[in-house]
């Protein structure tokens, strides 16, 4: 452990921390709140650059040996998550009336970064909690509707259950092996013992809870609907990405063996099917995205059926594409003072006549989420299912693909509302300029991902 290593290896975290401290100082200092947005944006953007830089030079170090390490894979994961966070910040200008918002967001991001560098379950747990706790508050922060309290409480309780489940599993692992290192999980997967099996199941279930996999998904639609649009975007992209990338770290490269395979295949399959079916009936945009995110969490866990090295690549590429598309849809969603009205799908009817750019962007996001080529969502899905086929799980792969087919309908329904409805939704204000900028960045990035997927895949 030396100071220089700590300084360089944790540069993204340090920059986030500096941002948090500055924001807190601003809170004490009398004056305007306008600086808060600039500071948080600057902190996250510089942290992104730092993570990219660490990845580019291939930096690898263990500032806290056995607890926290940095390697190019971790840096790439952080870079993806932080870059998505920059975009989320760009669409959350309206949230800044809530002074606590940027502080909470940055704290949560710090947790994600910690998560992606953790070597032991101790650090992992620390990161997971630091990531989740601010989000419980963020859901409740706006308190625009009475249901928000219920949703936030539900989220808190189920999130707490997830933590408890994780701790239970980890303590069993510790009991069996005497170590808290992430490696013991891989050993437990391979060991035939009952205790190891229970421990693995508990850890996996805790990840399912955090990622909203059926039947542990009930909190997601409520929480997504209760939160404001930027918070929903944050939850559906960055929290999900953090959980999944952390799961990649925990699972490592070991091939799954029965019954872990069944656990990691059946429940995600159920999520894909149920998420897509339930999304068909939603009348609220955010609830629909919540169910869609349940289905996407299913695809993401499918990646774990694949072989070791491909897991990170598949998950990283998928969360990047999925995050960009979600943020794109949220960025151009028309503004409305009434949060519930902004959310109603009916209000999107005939949007193309009122706001062409927004309608086209939402359409692209929906088609990409549906996995229809040539949009990048297809390549992401293809990569995951290719790995599942390669690992020999033909039946699960085919069922997953058929499940993904179910999703096409509700994505197309949104497009139908936007373009083909003769009715008019309530007039709403166009999105803010910054949000449009974020949408534009998402669009350019997704075009690049669609035309040159090989380049991005080559990185990881």
């Amino acid at each position: 452990m030396n100071a220089q290593e700590i300084l360089i290896a944790m540069l993204p975290e340090h920059l986030l921390l500096a941002g948090i401290v500055l924001l807190l100082c601003l809170e004490i200092a009398p004056g305007r709140a306008r600086g808060a947005f600039a500071i948080s944006l600057l902190a996250v953007a510089s942290a992104t650059v730092a993570a990219i830089w660490l990845f580019a030079i291939g930096y690898a170090a263990e500032p806290f040996a056995g607890q926290y390490s940095v390697d190019p894979v971790a840096s790439l994961g952080k870079a993806i998550v932080l870059a998505l966070a920059v975009l989320v910040l760009l669409i959350s200008r309206g949230e800044l009336t809530q002074r606590a918002f940027p502080v909470l967001l940055l704290s949560s991001l710090y947790g994600v970064c910690l998560l992606l560098s953790s070597d032991t379950f101790l650090t992992l747990f620390l990161g997971l909690e630091l990531m989740s706790l601010p989000v419980y508050v963020l859901v409740l922060l706006a308190f625009r509707r009475p249901e928000s309290a219920e949703a936030a409480l539900k989220y808190l309780v189920l999130g707490g259950t997830a933590s408890a489940t994780l701790l239970m599993g980890v303590s069993l692992l510790y009991g069996a092996s005497g170590s808290l290192s992430l490696d013991v999980f891989a050993e437990a997967i391979e060991s035939p013992g009952t205790m190891a099996g229970v421990a693995v199941a508990l850890v996996v279930v805790s990840f399912f809870l955090k990622a909203a996999i059926v039947p542990f998904h009930a909190w997601a639609p409520d929480a997504y609907e209760a939160a404001t649009v930027p918070v929903t975007a944050y939850m559906s992209t960055i929290v999900k990405a953090g959980v999944l990338l952390a799961a990649v770290r925990v699972f490592g490269g070991v091939p799954l063996s029965s019954p872990t395979t069944e656990l990691v295949a059946l429940l995600p399959l159920l999520s894909i099917v149920w998420g897509n079916l339930a999304a068909m009936r939603q009348q609220s945009f955010r609830r629909m995205i919540a169910y869609s995110s349940i289905a996407h969490a299913g695809y993401l866990f499918y990646a774990f059926l694949g072989d070791g090295a491909g897991r990170f690549q598949a998950v990283a590429f998928y969360v990047l594409v999925y995050g960009l598309m979600n943020i794109l849809a949220f960025a151009v969603l028309p503004q409305n003072a009434d949060d519930a009205a902004r959310d109603r799908l009916d209000n999107l009817k005939g949007l193309f006549r009122r706001d062409r750019f927004a309608a086209l962007m939402i359409a692209i996001a929906m088609l990409s989420l549906a996995g229809i080529p040539p949009f990048p969502g297809f390549v992401a899905k293809f990569l995951i299912f290719k790995n599942v086929f390669a690992a020999g799980y033909t039946l699960y792969a085919v069922l997953g693909l058929v499940g993904s087919y179910l999703g096409i309908y509700f994505y197309l329904r949104v497009i139908q509302y936007l373009f083909m409805s003769t009715e008019e939704g309530a007039p709403q204000q166009p999105p803010e300029r910054l949000a449009l900028g974020a949408g534009f960045i998402c669009l350019v990035a997704s075009i690049l991902l669609a035309v040159f997927p090989g380049w991005v895949l080559g990185l990881s």
Partner: protein, 551 residues
């Protein structure tokens, strides 16, 4: 400029056109139309140039571009022309300007979006035909859905939402299973040979056991059969056709349906030849059922557009029949029939659109004696009707006749040998010819002749734009009918290659299927596997002359 660049120009011109349209300011509808037409005409000129320079004697791809795209997966950006697609690319490029010009008066709202979608569809269709890499093919294949979803959904008729969702959900279901089959195919090739490749040429060499071939063929065939469409997977077609705007119908009938038969010819049958031979009787039967059932349905329709829509099902049955016959004449007939149907059905849909613009109804009962009211229109309609029936000197004759001839040439030797089923199938197909004449002539009689009546009189006859569109189609129909040799020469090598590929046994040595027997040979037992092991492959079953070319 190199030839390969020319093919890329054909492919990407529509994209450039979209960029141009987007750059134009709002409410410049005239400029949008002119720009789209110019782009399409230019595409046709370049495509025609490529067609003329296409060397029919050269094996393999011409005007080929092959660049690594997703290196880690072995995916290449590989496009090129061969005998399979050269005519279809030309057909697509030929119909493009006609579709654009045909929509000048019909499409009055969201003009920019409409032409952008038509150009996007054109891009995806040409891409599907020229792609020589399975990943690329699938990308274009699926991408075709999106513009058509918009075209039917925004500019369609009353029940357009229902029709467009039905169309997309139907075809997407086939595609998703095909995707599974694609991944499985590439993966299993990877495990046996160690290379990951999506190139058609490499996939043709894949050796798979028969049971795997059967499942993969089923997945591919489902996707393609929905597109063709073959009975009983055809129910999306009438809805999509009736609700689509004219341009959508023309593209649908003219090009999109050929994607299905092209897929069978280029992918499904040659990739899984053993399974294809085994199930040829099934495909042959479905083809004939499509021919007759489609014709019967066309007979009883009261909506003009539906008559043409169901006639498409019938006409594409001949294509499938020619393909499964595995007789060289039959295969070439199938190819000619694809192009011919594209021209004739495309033209008929354009004509239905023209009368609809004038009278705002497609009910056949509302019309009568149009020959007296619209003489020029009626001449064109009669020519296209006769071409649809397959009158000699029109393109329809060549295709239908050759496809039927091929089916008989494949079936006769088997009949001599004692297997009657193929001959029964082939003979039943002839009934379709009679029915075809019946429904088209009856339609012409009710529509064109008799007491003159039409809603919205007086009617003005065709204007210069409409006359030019139809004249182009009629010239092509006759050119194809009178001089079929030239296009058939260009496709002959491909037909031979297809024949050779499907006759090759590639079961990895694990299955015994009567080798190199004509496709219908397994027909003794249409439902089960080959049950006649006694049939000696060296017996005179291989009819003398069955392999002879057309020259």
């Amino acid at each position: 400029m190199s030839d390969a660049a020319l093919l890329n120009i054909v492919l990407y011109l529509p994209l450039a056109g979209i960029a141009g349209i987007v750059a134009l300011p709002q409410r410049r509808d005239g400029q949008v139309r002119a720009l789209s037409l110019a782009v399409m005409l230019l595409q046709f000129v370049v495509a025609a140039l490529l067609y003329l320079r296409f060397d029919p004697a050269a094996e393999g791809l011409q005007f080929e571009t092959r660049l690594p795209w997703i290196a880690a997966w072995g995916v290449y950006y590989q496009i090129g022309l061969d005998g399979y697609n050269v005519l279809l690319v030309l057909l697509t490029a030929f119909l493009g300007p006609l579709v654009v010009a045909g929509a000048f008066s019909a499409i009055q709202r969201e003009v920019k979006l409409f032409y952008a979608m038509v150009l996007a569809l054109q891009f995806a269709m040409v891409g599907t035909f020229v792609a020589q890499d399975l990943f690329l093919f699938y990308l274009f294949w699926e991408a075709m859905l999106i513009p058509l979803f918009f075209i039917i959904g925004i500019w369609g008729g009353e029940r357009r939402i229902y029709a467009t969702l039905k169309f997309v959900l139907y075809t997407a279901f086939g595609s998703i299973l095909m995707l599974a089959a694609v991944i499985y195919l590439v993966h299993s090739l990877n495990t046996t040979s160690g290379v990951t490749t999506f190139a058609f040429a490499d996939l043709y060499k894949a050796e798979l056991p028969l049971d795997v071939q059967t499942i993969l063929l089923a997945a591919f065939a489902l996707s393609f059969a929905i597109k063709v469409p073959m009975v009983p997977l055809h129910t999306w077609l009438p809805d999509a056709h009736v609700e689509a705007p004219t341009a959508g119908s023309v593209i649908l009938a003219g090009v999109l349906l050929k994607m299905g038969t092209y897929g069978f010819m280029k992918l499904a049958f040659p990739l899984f030849p053993d399974a294809a031979r085994l199930y040829a009787p099934l495909f042959g039967t479905l083809a004939v059922v499509s021919i007759i059932y489609g014709a019967c349905l066309a007979l009883v329709q009261t909506d003009i557009k539906k008559i043409i829509a169901y006639s498409s099902i019938s006409h594409l049955g001949y294509v499938m029949l020619g393909l499964v016959s595995l007789d060289l004449l039959g295969i070439q007939g199938a190819v000619v029939q694809m192009v011919s149907h594209g021209l004739v059905a495309g033209g008929l849909f354009l004509m239905v659109g023209m009368i609809y613009e004038r009278c705002h109804t497609r009910e056949l009962a509302a019309y009568g004696g149009i020959a007296k009211l619209l003489p020029i229109y009626s001449v064109f309609l009669l020519i296209l009707t006769l071409a649809a029936i397959g009158l000699p000197t029109t393109s329809g004759f060549t295709g239908e006749f050759l496809a039927l001839l091929g089916a008989f040439r494949a079936a006769w030797p088997l009949h001599v040998q004692g297997t009657d089923y193929p001959l029964i199938v082939a003979s039943s197909a002839v009934a379709g010819v009679v029915l075809g004449a019946l429904y088209m002539l009856w339609f012409a009689q009710r529509f064109l002749f008799g007491e003159a009546k039409a809603p919205h009189q007086p009617l003005r006859d065709l204007n210069f734009r409409e006359k030019s569109i139809l004249a182009a189609i009629v010239v092509a129909v006759f050119a194809f009918g009178l001089f079929p040799n030239e296009p058939m020469r260009k496709t002959e090598l491909a037909a031979r290659q297809y024949q050779r590929l499907v006759r090759t046994e590639r079961g990895g040595g694990k299955v015994a299927v009567a080798p190199s027997s004509p496709m219908l040979s397994a027909a003794g037992n249409p439902s089960g596997p080959v049950s006649a092991p006694s049939r000696d492959p060296n017996s005179p079953a291989r009819a003398p002359g069955a392999d002879e070319g057309t020259r």
